[in-house]
Symmetry: C2
Subunit: 352 residues, 2 copies
């Protein structure tokens, strides 16, 4: 059987195919795919985010199944909306496609993208498809704040408690294991079914808990670059009037059973485990600051949604915006270096 490639149907064939698939889904847009621009009747207050995902930078095309890549491409953008305590409404999908790409690959990618869209009631309303030397995915998401105002990064204050949803480090460790699979130290099929792989390949945007936190969280961010980098963003943005520091207690960092098991029960004593947990990135959990005394309500929300929420520290006035990591004895531990930099001075391995 001949394998159908994109070039067998061309750009307009692919756009028609995508449009036919999308138009089978009921939608709210006044004009979706198929005109110069999309037309929507918008809520008065809107959130907009966009992310680029490029092969060999953000993912390894040879290793991530296309359906999961479709899901993840949308999920990382939805996570940004979740980080604002927002509701996602519409998505645009730009694709730069290698000229010899198979149609089946694109169909699977689109299926995953639409699956994730459907799970969060998001409508694909437009985009762009063109040639690209490597697979390049550009997603924009439009949404609106769940309550009157979104929750920003810049509104943390001294005295706030620092909270975290879920567990962190799993996706980062998943990627490390993936690289071992690449080096054939581990069987890839085995990895594909592990929980760590799924955290890496198929992150769940925390939109539901984000909505519930709309009245409670004072400042919030989604964890894409790792706890220390993203907590650093909250500190920098919130330190406009008074420098703030974050005191984080290492023993309160929420880690999964699989993460702990991989490091034989002592994850933070391993240099790698410590770095991955704190700055591995791609956790897509929510990090937020809340007033003291909100804990009961926060934990109740977590229980209702079946998602752990953990208090990991507090915000205090400081000399400069910085993170103070404390071990169980209360001794200060150095903050690990940034795990991934897009533009390193020295060459670096690609991100997963």
């Amino acid at each position: 059987m001949q394998v159908l490639k994109l070039k067998d149907i061309g750009e307009s064939g692919w756009v028609q195919r995508m449009r036919a698939r999308v138009s089978s889904i009921p939608g709210r847009a006044l004009v979706g795919i198929g005109d110069d621009a999309s037309w929507i009747s918008s809520p008065g207050s809107m959130l907009i985010t966009c992310d680029l995902l490029i092969d060999e930078v953000h993912f390894l095309k040879e290793l991530i199944p296309p359906r999961l890549l479709g899901r993840k491409s949308l999920a990382v953008n939805l996570s940004d909306i979740a980080g604002m305590a927002g509701v996602a409404d519409y998505a645009l999908l730009g694709l730069g496609l290698p000229r010899d790409i198979e149609l089946k690959y694109l169909d699977d990618f689109l299926e995953g993208f639409l699956e994730m869209a459907n799970e969060h009631k998001v409508e694909l309303i437009g985009g762009d498809s063109c040639a690209g030397s490597v697979l390049t995915i550009s997603v924009s998401v439009l949404g609106h704040p769940f309550s009157e105002r979104p929750v920003l990064r810049s509104t943390a204050e001294a005295g706030d408690e620092i909270w975290l949803t879920g567990t962190i480090g799993d996706a980062g460790l998943g990627f490390e294991i993936l690289k071992k699979c690449q080096r054939q130290e581990l069987e890839i099929a085995q990895f594909h079914h592990s929980s760590l792989a799924l955290r890496h390949f198929d992150p769940a945007p925390r939109l539901k808990v984000g909505e519930r936190l709309a009245g409670l969280a004072k400042a919030m961010i989604d964890l894409s670059d790792g706890l220390t980098v993203d907590l650093g963003h909250i500190l920098e943005e919130s330190s406009k009037e008074q420098p703030l520091q974050a005191i984080v207690e290492l023993e309160k960092i929420p880690l999964s059973e699989d993460f702990k098991k991989y490091y034989e029960g002592k994850p933070l004593e391993s240099e790698e485990g410590f770095r991955i947990a704190l700055s591995g990135g791609e956790d897509y959990e929510l990090l937020f600051c809340a007033e003291q005394g909100s804990g009961g309500e926060i934990i109740k929300i977590g229980k209702e949604l079946g998602l752990a929420v953990s208090k990991i520290g507090r915000i205090e006035p400081g000399e400069v915006p910085e993170i103070i990591l404390l071990d169980e004895k209360g001794s200060q531990v150095p903050v690990p270096a940034v795990w991934f930099e897009h533009f390193p001075k020295e060459p670096q391995i690609p991100k997963g």
Copy 2:
């Protein structure tokens, strides 16, 4: 003097630099660059478009000056909003950047982007910057219809006249000459100052005339893929109830003096001139259909804006959606083949 590269300041350094530059411009956004998502107070009805521009597919980084690339990246998106008779409000800029790119290149690119934004009162409110194997630009633009409804592709009717703003073929010919420069048949410095080069490098989005056509044009599209392809889109989209054909009179096709001169006064008798004019693409003019009898008002608008508007044909009922090209004797001439296909069955030279 050491040449500063992006990797000398890293991703966050570049985002801070961009943010500082943008925050010096007064804006309407409630939250712009610097949070998980941007936050705007939106008009009730919105238009959204996005386009990817990839080195060696949409442009040749070695040949287009970075300031003009910045201008063009936004202009091609603004043209989509113009094609809906819309007003552009906000832009998001995603950049996939080669790791050794110079900071000066990026500064110049951003300057051009902001110049174009300023000319059309568009505000840059967010985006994404990451590593990419080749320079990759993803732009999303949000706007609103100038009047209650945008002008769509799908609302042309039999009896309508077909109109065109400006002249076509110039950008396509500019690109052909550019390729000659690459092959060193022509001096690049000389070309850079020609009007054809400017049409290719620095297209002007027709937002102003688009707005004025809001009540007059019944169907409209911006010309990005060339007259025959884009007129074909209007026919296909408008043929839902009754198949429509377009009768186009070749002698009425508006061509610039420079275009005519290049082909020694007989542009459409040259096979190349004929193909470039009708399907060279990147014209970024507006093609629209209007009721018979609107001509006086349309020409008045053109005069007020100092932009030619030409009636090139009419819409009629047909057997299938198709374009009928007629020469000055009224004989039918074959429609030229598509000039550029992103996913050709056979290899093709990159687009400009």
